[in-house]
């Protein structure tokens, strides 16, 4: 197959897979009823209803507040952590990195519930604090608290982009500044930061956007006070009318897409300075960590403090919950310790299957996904065409659909597109749904690696007469092998905690851990949910440890 037809096939499939659910939702938003029912007509009523609904505006305001708050918190901390781990001699820099990315693979619902058990009004941290100081000065169910938690848990997103940009800077400039007498912080602020600014801004836009699709955190932490964000507003909408109203839900999704489009344009502008990312050149750059001197341990303390609040506190909450029958005010935890929840879990027939399915879709599915993302990335790499731009634009759009809607759209696609029928109720459909929704994320990671390859390497290949296909196969792809493996690792982590996109595709035999957790959560079996969350985390940490030991690096 020539490179040209490879490109054509890849991009056609991509555009179909990505646009089908999105266009279906947009179409649905202009109808008077479910698109599949007879006697429906084109109508703008759904728009009129939503724009007239006070709750929609309230939810939109809260979403904007959370998005801004998250960005303001996550970006500086993410950049700081990246600078410390990548460019300085902070103690433990080798093992700090896997720690930093841990929050990306923890299910937000579990994380939020962990905070309730630790920092809620009768959480164990709150009770301890109260016994010393007499009062608890925080309230985790407020909008401010949700913004703080969301910001801190999204630090890894910024970290990943900032770290890979920093890693690719030659240290010669920083050293020059140090030699001239600048302290480590002056170097960081006036030399390193400006160099990686495009990457940081890029990540900032991403985090801001992720603020609009927050779901698990506001669902759990926003519940008692009825804090509504766009994704939880969808529930309220269904309930207002008694039965689900797809056209109204679709309008909300269209609104989120309209927010996403200018953000994607902004990201593209930032990426125009792509040359700044170039680092795998014909000749290598020397790297020396900056000596922090007296700042070494305080810097270390910053990383640990963040980690403690973002991972240890909620995880301790969940682990504690999995080991006790009761908690809270007036409970002596030692007297209620038990391993029963884990025993009950082992007896729960679906658990083993769910674990195997989760591993399957995350490991094998993840690998296939990366292969697919790489095909797309290579197809549009250095292709100055409007089509390349288009693919880049539409990649982000599926992420604009909150999980509950994306799941429904996927069900519709598999039901109403006849050739796909046999795949429904298999793990393949679940995998495809995940891959489409996380496309933007994966594509960025791969194309990020591709941007690091200086054109001269590929040009060398062309000069000696290689075809574009050969260049891609023998030069480009091998050079980003490291990047692909780290992307695989991240996709593994993401797929291992994902569920909402696949919820309508689940059938006996296709349960995953995430879906199991949700159905148990609904019936109040929080004993089992927390035990399962602990098992899930152990699996993921083990997977991460094995990968790191086997020499996989988090950055290509």
């Amino acid at each position: 197959m020539s490179f040209r037809s490879f490109r054509l096939v890849t991009l056609t499939l991509t555009v179909l897979a990505v646009l089908a659910p999105v266009l279906l939702i947009v179409y649905q938003s202009f109808l008077s009823g479910p698109f599949f029912q007879p006697r429906i007509h084109l109508s703008l009523d759904a728009y009129a209803f939503i724009l007239d609904d006070e709750d929609f505006w309230q939810a939109l305001r809260t979403s904007v507040f959370l998005a801004v708050g998250m960005t303001v918190i996550a970006v500086p901390i993410g950049v700081l952590l990246a600078f410390l781990v990548v460019r300085t001699d902070v103690p433990g820099r080798d093992w700090l990195e896997p720690l930093v990315i841990i929050p990306t693979f923890m299910s937000a619902v579990v994380l939020a519930f962990g905070y309730v058990i630790a920092l809620g009004p009768v959480g164990f941290v709150s009770l301890a604090f109260k016994s010393v100081f007499g009062t608890v000065p925080w309230y985790i169910y407020s909008e401010w608290a949700i913004a703080l938690v969301a910001g801190l848990t999204h630090v890894p997103h910024v970290y990943l982009y900032a770290a890979s940009a920093l890693r690719n800077l030659g240290s010669d400039i920083e050293e020059a500044a140090r030699t001239a007498g600048a302290g480590p912080w002056t170097v960081a602020l006036t030399v390193s930061l400006p160099m990686v600014m495009p990457a940081v801004l890029y990540a900032a836009v991403l985090v801001f956007f992720l603020g609009f699709e927050l779901f698990g955190l506001p669902l759990v932490l926003g519940d008692p006070e009825g804090v509504l964000v766009l994704s939880t507003y969808l529930f309220k909408l269904t309930n207002k009318l008694g039965v689900p109203s797809y056209q109204l839900m679709a309008v909300v999704v269209v609104a989120i897409i309209l927010i996403a489009v200018p953000l994607i344009m902004l990201q593209r502008r930032l990426l125009r300075h792509a040359a700044r990312y170039v680092s795998i050149r014909g000749k290598g750059a020397r790297k020396q960590p900056i000596r922090l001197g007296a700042w070494r341990w305080p810097a270390f303390a910053v990383v640990i403090l963040w980690f403690g609040f973002t991972v240890v506190v909620p995880m301790a909450g969940i682990t504690l919950r999995s080991l006790v029958t009761s908690w809270g005010d007036g409970v002596n935890l030692l007297s209620v310790l038990t391993l029963d929840h884990f025993r009950d879990l082992a007896e729960h027939g679906d658990v083993v299957r769910a674990i195997l399915n989760t591993l399957g879709v995350a490991v094998i599915g993840g690998a296939v996904t990366i292969a697919a993302y790489t095909s797309v990335a290579v197809s549009i790499h250095r292709w100055n065409s409007r089509w390349a731009k288009l693919v880049d634009y539409i990649a982000m759009i599926p992420r604009a659909m909150p999980g509950v809607v994306a799941g429904l759209a996927m069900l519709w696609i598999f039901l109403f597109v006849k050739p796909l029928n046999p795949l429904r109720s298999t793990m393949i459909s679940v995998w495809l749904a995940y891959s489409v929704v996380w496309f933007a994320y994966g594509l960025r990671m791969i194309s990020g690696s591709l941007l690091q390859i200086a054109p001269e390497l590929e040009e060398a290949g062309r000069t000696v007469g290689a075809t574009p296909g050969q260049v891609a196969r023998h030069i480009t792809v091998p050079l980003i092998k490291g990047g692909m493996i780290s992307a695989w690792l991240l996709i593994f982590l993401i797929f291992a905690r994902e569920y909402s996109t696949g919820v309508y595709l689940l059938a006996p035999g296709t349960e995953v851990i995430g879906s199991l957790m949700v159905s148990l959560w609904g019936t109040g079996a929080i004993d089992l949910v927390s035990a399962l969350a602990v098992v899930n985390t152990v699996i993921i940490v083990a997977g991460l440890a094995v990968a790191l030991r086997a020499g996989v690096r988090l950055h290509g």
């Binding site: 519940d223 069900l411 109403f416």
Partner: protein
């Protein structure tokens, strides 16, 4: 290829086992045809809101009673169940063989819209009248709507045994209960809406209670699990309108969570079951529905499954008799009938929600 061999082997087993499944006692002899057809279909696909762990005993026992009919059990929430059913029917691909949902209003709505097949079950006569909608939708359980409270933290004299007592408690001790009471949010949760509109039908002073909720700064939830958990932990002292089956399961593990069956009236709701019009394996669907309603199925429901049996002629830990005893006889089952559709009427719904949000604001 391998799958086909397995299927062939399975169907042999099926044929061998078919002889074992005799017509249950009291059924017409013609029922053998249903059993044979079900065995031929080989499986029954169940969409249910009862989670798979809780239903495991029922599934196992059904498969033992009717060898050759395998159960494919999928648990979904009630909105997902509704969405999935109507989409599958519209796509013309057939759907589940049985749906079993804790949202009786949505089930009756589906039946009224023609998604359910009428089926006069041989067990229909054994069910109380409130649990039968036009011989189409049947109530398989009788779940009491309870109040749960934290025994350790709630003063014994405060425990409300009736709705009136709860209203009085919240009015008299408003300060002490500030932020300490939880309930489903009828604005965000279908179950909450359904329970609270039923309260209004049963009890004149319901709007007063809603206002009292407003004064104590009611914490509203979308999931029973979170409420039960937080009452157990003492973050809240009590939660209003909790499925008895969830409360009983938690109480068995942690007796600190105590249950009140209000003595002025205890609402009873049901997990409603029907065979869809477009079921792929309708005979297997009927077989499963009949099993759920049978004495054998109901006895398990009142026992290992820790749900509440709808039939009054079975014994067990969770039966109508249990509720009657605890509630002093004042049991008000919410009937499966067309009145449930009123709650789904948009105008009426929005009116209730408006009144509710006013009440919470103390107006």
């Amino acid at each position: 290829m391998k799958v086909k061999t397995l299927l062939a082997a399975a169907s042999l087993l099926v044929l061998a086992g078919a002889a074992d499944a005799a017509v249950p006692e009291g059924y017409p002899a013609s029922y053998q045809a249903v059993i044979d057809a079900a065995v031929k279909e080989g499986k029954v696909v169940v969409y249910s809101t009862t989670d798979a762990a809780q239903a495991a005993a029922l599934v196992k026992d059904f498969e033992a009673a009717f060898p050759g009919v395998k159960v494919e059990y999928t648990d979904l929430n009630s909105t997902e169940l509704y969405n999935r059913l109507i989409a599958e029917v519209a796509a013309g691909q057939g759907t589940a063989d049985v749906t079993w949902s804790s949202a009786p209003d949505l089930q009756v709505k589906l039946a009224a819209d023609g998604y359910a097949a009428a089926y006069p079950s041989p067990e229909a006569g054994k069910l109380p009248a409130w649990a039968n909608y036009k011989n189409t939708v049947y109530g398989a359980t009788a779940d009491p709507v309870t109040i749960v409270y934290n025994k350790r933290a709630t003063p014994e004299g405060d425990v409300p045994t009736t709705h009136d007592a709860l209203l009085k408690l919240l009015t008299d001790k408003t300060e002490a209960y500030k932020g300490k009471v939880a309930a489903y949010d009828p604005e965000r949760s279908g179950v909450g809406f359904y329970f609270m509109t039923q309260d209004e039908i049963q009890w004149k002073a319901a709007p007063e209670l809603f206002k009292a909720f407003g004064k104590v700064g009611l914490k509203t939830y979308t999931s029973a699990g979170a409420m039960i958990e937080k009452v157990t932990a003492g973050e809240h002292l009590m939660a209003y309108g909790i499925f008895g089956s969830y409360a009983v399961s938690r109480n068995a593990k942690d007796p600190n969570l105590e249950i009140v069956y209000p003595k002025d009236y205890t609402l009873v709701t049901t997990r409603a079951v029907f065979v869809p019009e477009k079921a792929k394996n309708p005979n297997a669907g009927r077989l499963f529905l009949d099993y759920l309603l049978s004495k054998r199925g109901q006895t398990l429901i009142a026992g290992d499954a820790k749900l509440f049996a709808a039939r009054e002629d079975v014994d067990g830990a969770t039966t109508m008799a249990t509720i009657k005893k605890a509630a002093g006889g004042q049991v008000k089952p919410i009937a499966l009938d067309d009145k449930l559709l009123d709650g789904l009427d948009q105008t009426k719904r929005l009116r209730f929600l408006k009144d509710w949000s006013r009440a919470l604001k103390g107006q």
